[in-house]
């Protein structure tokens, strides 16, 4: 990879920086999932307020989505299915960004439902967009440069080297 040369290239592929990205993003996702998992009703209302999804799927999304956040967050932190989790997180964040954008454009005065489901929590607005974009950069960072450094999947691959080593080490 040509980007691995040069100062910026070396910086973004630095394994400690990657680990930092994983931890920050992973814990943010875990944290964000907890409140939603414990209050599915409130989360469903928030999803409904975005007026994007058809009403009948709102609840099933409210039931499943927080678990995707939780599992992906855990994956990022412990380093299992790391690249897949990073790709999923990127996809989720992109969807969130699109939802936020449409709300801002339509001028909806609704709560974000990003990290908590309380109604007086953060409203949809430029700050949320900025956070989302920052997190997309982090997830892309992991998806592109993700290494097996300090990752459970590395230790697993060492147990059965012939089959797995090739895909963990890049």
């Amino acid at each position: 990879m040509s980007m691995k040369n040069g100062l910026i290239g070396r910086l973004v592929s630095n394994k400690y920086l990657l680990l930092a990205s994983r931890f920050v993003l992973g814990f943010v996702f875990i944290y964000a999932s907890i409140d939603k998992i414990s209050h599915p009703g409130a989360f469903a209302d928030i999803i409904a307020n975005y007026r994007i999804l058809p009403g009948f799927v709102t609840n099933i999304v409210a039931i499943v989505l927080p678990w995707v956040e939780l599992i992906c967050g855990l994956s990022l932190v412990v380093g299992l299915f790391l690249r897949t989790a990073a790709v999923l997180v990127t996809a989720l964040l992109t969807l969130f960004l699109a939802s936020l954008l449409t709300s801002v454009i339509r001028g909806l005065d609704i709560s974000c439902g990003c990290f908590t489901v309380t109604t007086d929590a953060a409203k949809v607005g430029p700050m949320r967009l900025a956070e989302d974009i920052l997190m997309i950069l982090m997830s892309l960072h992991i998806a592109v440069f993700g290494t097996g450094f300090a990752a459970v999947e590395t230790y697993l691959s060492e147990l059965e080297p012939t089959e797995r080593r090739t895909r963990v080490q890049r």
């Binding site: 998992i37 414990s38 209050h39 599915p40 009703g41 469903a44 209302d45 409904a48 307020n49 007026r51 009403g55 009948f56 799927v57 709102t58 609840n59 099933i60 409210a62 039931i63 499943v64 989505l65 927080p66 678990w67 995707v68 939780l70 599992i71 992906c72 994956s75 299915f81 690249r83 897949t84 989790a85 790709v87 999923l88 909806l108 005065d109 109604t119 007086d120 895909r167």
Partner: protein, 218 residues
């Protein structure tokens, strides 16, 4: 690289499946679980033809029996939440109103019904919008009760008897604060809560009485 993509897809699908199973299972055992399929957000329109008119009085949520309201106004149409209201049966409404997930079973009233209550001073109007919007203008005599700060403002209702007719409203059209507020109020024990679904926009466009915060009250 092809193997890498394949692995991503397989793992991705696997993770999504795992999450779906976990989510549905947890939701099934959780105390706060919700029905997987959301019932369409429904409000029950109070009748204007008499087919439902008097049976709603039985639950204490109907139009006052002694009222002689003539409802000939065109019902609001093209509203996102509008339901085939004449089809909503009483039993269904009462069953669903125990579902905390959604503000259901609170009757909605039309502009003419709201205006009638207003003229006869039969109802207290509650503005569910943000306080700043209330200050810019509200239905004359309405009390500001922003849904987002419900607990803070609910004390204002302390002195009202529970059988006071309360009419909640918000912007109209795309807002659901009035429904949520109405639902909260009915949870608090108020028996005659109605949603004026047309809301502020419809009221203003009909040139019905309004006031601003700096106007003198009657």
């Amino acid at each position: 690289m092809k193997g890498e993509k394949r692995r991503l897809v397989v793992e991705g699908v696997g993770i999504m499946l795992l999450c779906s199973v976990l989510g549905v299972l947890y939701n099934a055992v959780s105390e706060r679980g919700i029905p997987p399929i959301r019932k369409s957000p429904s409000i029950t329109w109070e009748s204007d033809t008499g087919t439902l008119g008097n049976n709603s009085a039985g639950s204490g949520s109907g139009v006052d029996k002694d009222s002689s309201i003539e409802y000939h106004e065109q019902k609001p149409v093209d509203r996102e939440l509008e339901q085939p209201r004449s089809m909503v049966r009483k039993e269904r409404v009462e069953k669903e109103s125990s579902d905390l997930n959604e503000p259901q079973g609170v009757p909605a009233i039309t502009l003419s019904q709201a205006y009638d209550l207003f003229q006869r001073h039969k109802a207290v109007f509650l503005d569910a919008r943000h306080e700043s919007e209330y200050r810019l203008g509200h239905i004359k005599g309405a009390i500001s009760l922003p849904f987002n700060e419900f607990e803070k403002h609910a004390v204002q209702l302390g002195g009202l008897p529970v059988d006071t007719t309360l009419v909640t409203y918000c912007d109209g059209g795309e807002c659901d604060l009035s429904m949520k507020l109405a639902f909260e109020l009915s949870q608090k024990g108020f028996r005659r809560v109605k949603v004026y679904y047309g809301g502020w926009a419809e009221w203003v466009s009909s040139n019905h009485p309004i006031e601003k915060d700096d106007d003198n009250r009657e």
